[in-house]
Subunit: 252 residues, 2 copies
DNA sequence: CGGGACATTGAGTGGCATCAAGGCGTGTGG
DNA sequence: CCACACGCCTTGATGCCACTCAATGTCCCG
């Protein structure tokens, strides 16, 4: 249960060393002494209800954030008012690095469900990275990983067809679930079909149809928020330049 | 002339303090003392001929680079062999930050013309960022800017039509030319139509047709590599959700 | 002057968006 | 507990934008 997970995490001491996720957000190169100094810099965590904003595009930069439980979407809005979702953030993943460029958030971050957040205030960050060289290196690593993730998103948007995009999205999500020691075959999607479509540069009808076709092909079993990956091998095949799956039901 | 520009730069002392571009690649927060320490870390610059690679996807990370003159394209290749161009790098812009994530380049960088490069070796970088806190902050700023640039690219790929993409691309290029104190109305495109199309997630024929329509509409004058922006106001209008320009010649 | 890469132009097609209608699940109030 | 409404999702029909295929034009370089 979701509430159970949140409670467990709440019971953890408020400390990076004892955080179940510290290997995710700080994978390497931090020794015990450095860890203690980081602990003192991380502020009380916050909890956001579904739909609540962690920060808004244009806000002054105050802190970097790490998701502890739950999930976020980050998106930019253009003057005309429509949005592009840049990514979804799962536990252990960092949010807010776009604001380091000019001390102002370039995107908004919204909770997709009840979500718990770690906060590393800016002022503390400066001091910590000065005192703890290994953390500095680690932080650059994490930010660079952000760059690489966006590059993959770009490749998807630029070169892949709708079917490949959805397959790639599901595979990526499954892989990230694996890193969280969750079942990689049973995805519980915290985001709506509209969000998925937007993230993939498609419309919701297209996503819905593609789910249907993948189900007909025996690759997935789809039920609302729950997607079961029945044939990971076939799903992987759809990420390349495979032929589109047939449209009509019972056509295979 | 291009050759002249390169020669002028070659004659500069090999020092960040005297580099005409240091305000671009190191915009703020570096005092004289720090600058001198940085100087000693920046290795002799390299020169690449058109088509030569600065680094290749998968290469071990050795250094970050800044373009001094000329230009680069960065791109990723998928197993199937086709590429997605991630961006074009003009003088003063940094290249290679994607490799900080796991010490291996995630994309390739290729010279679009004869190009001169500054090199900040990895070993030096570690030492310098340790000794020079302001440079550390500055480096994070530059990397974050990379993140923001990719976000804009993503918005373009996800939500904009072909015509808006090309208009946005030309405006962005014009703005960057301005920062280099070049004429913002006369763009000399170092990249091919294929490269532009690929970057925008289109095919070359579409780009060619769009150039034609914008010329017919009196917005541009296009001659091979030379694009003159005659009506910046109308070009800006095309970046939003404007109606497509008419197809036939003499239709306005 | 000829070859080849790059660029333009035209005709036809297809994938995805758009428009429209209906199903399903959830929450709310009576 | 049920009725209702609303949001989310699915499914179908149609149209259009950009891709594909093909041919010609243009520049550059040997």
């Amino acid at each position: 249960m979701e509430a159970g997970t949140v409670l467990d995490l709440n019971q953890l001491r408020r400390s990076c060393g004892s955080c179940a996720l510290h290997e995710l957000c700080l994978p390497a190169g931090i020794d015990r002494q450095d860890m203690e100094r980081l602990d003192t810099a991380v502020r009380d965590k916050r909890t956001l209800d579904r739909g609540k904003l962690l920060f808004r595009q244009g806000d002054a930069f105050h802190a970097l954030y790490v998701v502890r439980s739950g999930s976020l979407k980050t998106y930019v809005e253009n003057p005309a008012g429509d949005a592009q979702i840049l990514g979804f953030s799962l536990p252990g993943e960092i949010v807010g690095v776009d604001a380091l460029a000019d001390d102002r958030h370039q995107c908004s971050a919204e909770a997709l469900e009840r979500t718990s957040i770690c906060e590393l205030p800016y002022s503390m960050m400066q001091q910590v990275t000065r005192d703890v060289p290994s953390l500095h290196r680690q932080l650059m690593r994490v930010i660079s990983r952000e760059v690489v993730a966006e590059q993959s998103h770009l490749v998807m948007m630029g070169r892949q067809q709708a079917q490949e995009r959805l397959a790639t999205f599901l595979r990526s999500l499954s892989e990230r679930y694996g890193r969280l020691s969750r079942d990689t075959a049973t995805l519980t999607l915290p985001m709506s079909r509209y969000d998925i479509a937007n993230y993939l540069g498609l419309v919701v009808e297209t996503v819905s149809r593609l789910f249907g076709r993948m189900e007909d092909a025996g690759i997935l079993s789809v039920n609302r928020k729950t997607v079961r990956i029945l044939r990971p091998d076939l799903l992987a095949g759809l990420c390349g330049n495979a032929r589109p799956l047939p449209r009509g039901r019972e056509a295979g």
